[in-house]
């Protein structure tokens, strides 16, 4: 045995120098969690989001007044002990309708986000990982969708397949999700593509290839986990944006339409009475702002947590 190998055995038998401390294992995700735990913005947004999610799943926890009970005689009533947020021009209880309106917003926000993340990630991954002509084709398609304004696309889509009074609730919501998904995925796809292109040349991807990993395995265990962080952040922020876009579409009368209850619809209905009874506008707008704010704050907090430079 040569000198070099004797040194090797002798030295490493003693786990003093190189062993290091056997501390708590910390991954990127656990590091992010540590910094999130100490961030009040994160907890604030989590509390708000929890409230909104509860509202959308069990609205009856918060109110026992039906959102469809219209008492025309009491229309435009100001906030009182009977109706906490007052009543709108149809005599609906605004508090109840605002609570029930959360469902549409959360549904649209969450499902549009999921939809765009899945579609955008798959296409972005294909483009970034394969490169070449596939990348060129997918990138141009992405650009084409990027060029169409969301509102214009929404108006077009909804006027081609309009809703009527008998359209079931989930179909109405589903349409909004589809239209926003179709025009919302390009930003995720671009982000994913650039993220993948950044991860791909790393040595560990090369090493995985040299150790016989299949392309699918390389994508799943090596590229995706390392490229996902920015997508998660943008998707969280987008969730808030989608909620506000849904409200915009509903306000314009092309998103959710009555009988669906939604903040956008409520805001739209309140406009006619803005100067005489502003409280009708105030409450749904306030909830909408809080919901959007909560998701954007969460996205911001998560971004800070994933970005080592911000620590």
């Amino acid at each position: 045995m040569t000198e070099a190998s004797t040194i090797g055995v002798a030295d490493t038998g003693v786990p003093v120098h190189e062993g290091g401390d056997v501390g708590e294992a910390r991954s990127l995700a656990s590091d992010a969690w540590r910094s999130l735990k100490r961030n009040w913005v994160f907890w604030f947004s989590v509390v708000l989001i929890t409230l909104f999610v509860l509202m959308s799943i069990w609205p009856s926890l918060f109110t026992n007044v039906s959102p469809n009970e219209a008492i025309l005689a009491k229309a435009r009533e100001r906030p009182s002990g009977d109706a906490w947020f007052g009543r709108d021009i149809q005599g609906y209880d605004i508090y109840s309708r605002t609570i029930y309106g959360a469902r549409a917003s959360i549904l649209v926000g969450v499902f549009t986000s999921v939809f765009t993340v899945i579609l955008g990630s798959v296409l972005g991954m294909l483009a970034g990982f394969n490169g070449g002509w596939l990348d060129a084709v997918l990138s141009r398609i992405t650009d084409m969708f990027f060029a169409i304004p969301l509102l214009l696309g929404g108006i077009l889509f909804m006027s081609v397949i309009p809703n009527d009074a008998n359209t079931p609730y989930f179909v109405v919501v589903g349409k909004v999700i589809v239209v926003m998904g179709i025009f919302g995925w390009p930003s995720i796809a671009r982000l994913m593509r650039s993220s993948v292109m950044q991860v791909k040349p790393n040595d560990y991807v090369q090493a995985a290839r040299a150790l016989g990993a299949s392309p699918l395995r390389i994508i799943r265990s090596h590229i995706l986990p390392n490229a996902m962080a920015p997508v998660i952040v943008v998707a969280t922020i987008n969730l808030g944006v989608f909620i506000s876009v849904e409200a915009t579409l509903s306000f314009l009368g092309i998103g959710l339409t009555p009988p669906a209850v939604s903040w956008g619809v409520a805001i739209s209905d309140a406009i006619v009475a803005l100067r005489t009874t502003p409280h009708i506008l105030l409450f749904p707008s306030l909830f909408l702002c809080l919901a959007v704010l909560a998701f954007i704050m969460l996205g911001d907090a998560v971004r800070d947590a994933f970005d080592p430079k911000s620590r």
Binding site: P15, E18, A25, Q206, G212, R217, S221
Partner: protein
């Protein structure tokens, strides 16, 4: 298990995919390999006709400075060159008699890991930062051997113990950045030898490490090589590193092999001016205070390799013939090959 794994158990363990048997002990044969890179500025000819062979249980050192094509050779053998921009216009890489270059990609992929494996230079960037090291080693067993989670993790711990990682049981859940450079390289080695490959290529495995750790890693590689009778290709620019470990040396320059010899012979008396220059440039303790001998000039631009011998602009023995005729690699003495017109003169003083 890990320490007693021998070659005989190799064939029984490999499940799925072809199992190759060396022909007359010959594992790997690289024949007249050419690699070029098509870039915007032109074609860089990184490898221009490399011939190598590797037998069972043998260590071959490929020596050369940066840009000599040693890493590209390794990547070509592994099949991890990005094509394009790389292109292999000519040559064959035979593993146990099967040409890897003409093999279907899926079949070739299955040789990586269980047959031919590789250790990279920088172990930190070669390990996936988001997964614990144990998980990454265990992945080899799960994917190639179809083991379940707990069995594969157990094997990973044993393997980590084999590469002398202290407190392996506790550290199996640690992430790559929690290890020191030497430890990371050990983990990389553990991953590379997990499936008992017949050929292990180590691409400058100690360059990123400090000197004391270098010796340990080289010792470990040599030990594992002897224990498992692997063929080891050691790629390095460090003459000191190879002296102890290698059986044979191939010296590369500008994408060609300049000299091939047994390690002891080569150190005793080089047969090529380039090798001679390399050996003279090693700092020596008995020549303290003197100017260090260096080879003047720079390696050629691979897009404009000079006519004649690639080394002629830097060679102090260069004659007119060296500027016009490219010397082929030829046998100049028993077991000695050199690509120099004046190899005999260099060899015999």
């Amino acid at each position: 298990m890990t320490t007693t794994t021998t070659k005989s158990s190799r064939s029984t363990q490999t499940s799925g995919g072809p199992v190759y048997q060396p022909v007359d002990g010959r594992l790997l044969e690289v024949e007249d390999l050419h690699v070029e890179f098509h870039t915007q500025d032109g074609v860089a000819r990184a490898i221009n006709g490399v011939n190598l062979y590797l037998d069972q249980g043998e260590t071959l050192a490929v020596l050369g400075e940066s840009g000599s094509g040693k890493s590209v050779t390794a990547q070509a053998v592994m099949g991890i060159l990005d094509m394009p921009p790389a292109k292999i216009p000519k040559g064959a890489i035979r593993y146990c008699g099967h040409d890897l270059l003409t093999m279907p990609e899926e079949q070739r992929r299955k040789t990586r890991g269980p047959e031919i494996s590789m250790v990279f230079q920088d172990a930190l960037s070669s390990l996936n930062p988001v997964f614990p090291v144990g998980w990454q080693i265990a992945e080899m067993f799960r994917k190639h051997r179809g083991m379940n989670r707990s069995d594969s993790l157990e094997r990973a711990v044993k393997l980590m113990q084999r590469v002398q990682i202290p407190a392996a049981k506790e550290r199996v859940k640690a992430y790559p950045h929690q290890f020191s450079g030497g430890m990371r390289q050990r983990i990389m080695i553990a991953m590379a030898i997990a499936l008992d490959p017949a050929v292990l290529i180590a691409d400058e495995p100690t360059t990123a490490l400090d000197v004391t750790v270098q010796a340990q890693i080289m010792g470990l590689l040599q030990e594992l090589q002897e224990e498992r009778q692997m063929g080891l290709i050691l790629i390095t620019h460090d003459l000191g590193v190879v002296a102890d470990v290698a059986d044979r040396i191939a010296v590369m320059y500008a994408g060609r092999i300049m000299e091939r010899a047994e390690v002891f012979e080569l150190y005793r008396q080089p047969a090529h001016p380039y090798t001679k220059g390399l050996l003279e440039s090693i700092p020596r303790l008995d020549q303290k205070g003197q100017q260090l001998a260096a080879i003047g000039g720079l390696p050629p631009n691979l897009m404009r390799i000079p006519p004649g011998c690639e080394f002629n602009p830097r060679c102090r023995y260069a004659q007119d013939v060296c500027r016009t005729d490219r010397p082929a690699l030829r046998e100049v003495a028993p077991g000695r090959e050199s690509a120099c017109h004046f190899a005999e003169e260099i060899l015999h003083g």
